[in-house]
């Protein structure tokens, strides 16, 4: 009888649970709360400086620039108070800057990696140096941001870059069987010019579909079941809502950059083969001399570990380290264990190199 009573209780609470679920799925939460100011803009790009909370005498001397991917909002780095890499690093005394690429419009469909690495990044970095008063700087690139950071560091090795941190960096495209995206954009199946002729830029929704379709059951079913099963737990619900706010806030990828990503990298692996030309300059990884930390997510399905491992043997850096973290592409930086594992390791590596 007791079993029937509990079951009846659960059934009677079902309408309320459905309402709560619907509210959680459809509502947005405040994100990117760490105070910041805009110090530079160009087209849609903005350079933010986070307001320091540590007295100047105790701050790290070398500023840190965060470069995120082109097709997602960078506030995953500053998701919500208490669960923010940005907030953590500011509290550790770093003079922190974030390069936000913004959302490209139809007028930006021809933007390429050439423009991002040789027009936007040098200008943003110049401004960061002027504001911070430091000739040297550190840079952290995540995902496509890691490609941009690597290309910039190889093309401009004398621009003052002292430390480079690459997170889940898709640099090596030689393992055709291990990279699912690579199969999808194979020239036998995917006509990149036809897609871009119709869309101009690669729509954010298509990129989002691609990322989710890599693990369809996890992303389309289990993700929502996790919320359903934990509706009574406010911590889980808040974390879920913040992540869902970020995941559903899609940004298109400039057509020119998307074409390069598909043709030059996924299909022809030109970066690792030393054949990638950026505005007439060959990207030579051996010219990259900054101290290098590569962070690899062992369970990454978007950038499998095989894409990030080979870079260490190609760069000219004397000081280089690889750090493997259990977790997925986003989870290693924004998951519940990030503040115990990834963030302290990055801080521990960077701190002595920022004096």
């Amino acid at each position: 009888m007791a079993e029937a009573g509990v079951f009846a209780d659960q059934l009677s609470g079902l309408p309320e649970k459905i309402l709560a679920f619907n509210k959680a799925v459809t509502s947005k939460v405040p994100i990117a709360q760490t105070p910041k100011e805009v110090v530079w803009t160009l087209n849609k790009a903005k350079l933010y400086r986070y307001v320091p909370v540590v007295p100047e005498a105790k701050r790290q001397k070398i500023p840190l620039l965060l470069v995120f991917a082109l097709m997602n909002r960078p506030y995953i780095l500053d998701l919500r108070p208490g669960h923010s890499f940005v907030e953590f690093m500011v509290q550790q005394g770093y003079d922190l800057y974030l390069l936000d690429w913004g959302a490209p419009g139809p007028e930006d469909k021809n933007l390429k990696f050439d423009d991002y690495t040789l027009d936007y990044m040098p200008r943003a970095i110049r401004k960061m140096k002027a504001v911070s008063g430091s000739k040297e700087f550190s840079m952290l690139g995540w995902c496509i941001g890691a490609i941009l950071a690597t290309v910039y560091s190889s093309l401009r090795p004398d621009d003052g870059l002292r430390n480079l941190i690459l997170l889940t960096a898709p640099l090596d495209f030689s393992n055709k069987q291990g990279i699912t995206f690579g199969k999808w954009v194979d020239e036998k199946f995917f006509d990149v010019d036809k897609v871009l002729a119709a869309t101009g830029n690669m729509p954010g929704e298509m990129i989002d579909y691609g990322a989710r379709a890599l693990k369809p059951v996890e992303n389309y079913v289990l993700n929502y079941l996790k919320l359903w099963d934990n509706l009574e737990n406010p911590n889980v619900v808040e974390a879920w809502k913040a992540m869902n706010t970020w995941v559903t806030d899609n940004v298109p990828l400039a057509g020119g950059a998307f074409r390069q990503l598909v043709v030059d990298l996924y299909r022809n692996d030109r970066l690792m083969r030393g054949e990638w030309m950026i505005r007439g300059e060959r990207v030579d990884l051996s010219r990259l001399r900054a101290d290098l930390l590569t962070v690899i997510a062992e369970g990454d399905h978007i950038t499998p570990p095989c894409q990030s491992e080979a870079v260490l043997s190609r760069v000219g850096s004397n000081d280089k380290e690889v750090f493997r973290v259990p977790g997925g592409h986003i989870g290693i930086m924004a998951g519940s264990a990030a503040h115990k594992l990834t963030w302290p390791h990055i801080d521990g590596w960077l701190r002595p190199r920022s004096q």
Partner: protein
């Protein structure tokens, strides 16, 4: 309330068994689907679907674009191409302004040098305070 607890002391959950079976099934399904999307067959099928959609929608899109362009011309209104051209010019102007900003930073930097880092810090603090 005591009889609503299972022998192991945990709250009794009549749906527990169902949930466990559900999770096991979904785990198995998830693994199968990951393998499926990583196959050449899936890449071929998704490519074919996308190609069919683009081929089918292309005539409509082109017709609509031509009609829209014609309508805008008749109304003496700027087209998307006009706006794109304008936006590109704006970006070029922004770059020129950024070059000027860089030169200004270079000019002002030597002037700040003799003051030394301590004075510069004080001046920054003053500006913030003034706000």
């Amino acid at each position: 309330m005591a009889d609503e607890r299972a022998p192991n002391g945990k709250d009794f959950d009549p749906m527990g068994g169902f949930r466990e079976a559900r999770d096991n099934y979904l785990d198995a399904w998830a693994k199968t689907m990951v393998e499926a999307v990583n196959s050449d067959a899936y890449a071929k099928a998704s490519g074919a679907v996308l190609d069919t959609y683009l081929s089918a929608s292309s005539p409509f899109r082109e017709t609509l674009e031509k009609a829209m362009l014609h309508a805008l011309q008749q109304l003496s209104m700027p087209s998307r191409a006009d706006f794109i051209s304008l936006a590109e010019r704006m970006t070029n102007i922004e770059m020129k302004l950024d070059d000027v900003d860089a030169k200004l930073d270079e000019i002002t930097r030597p002037a700040a040098k003799p003051a030394g880092p301590k004075t510069r810090t004080a001046a920054r603090g003053k500006r913030k305070g003034a706000k």
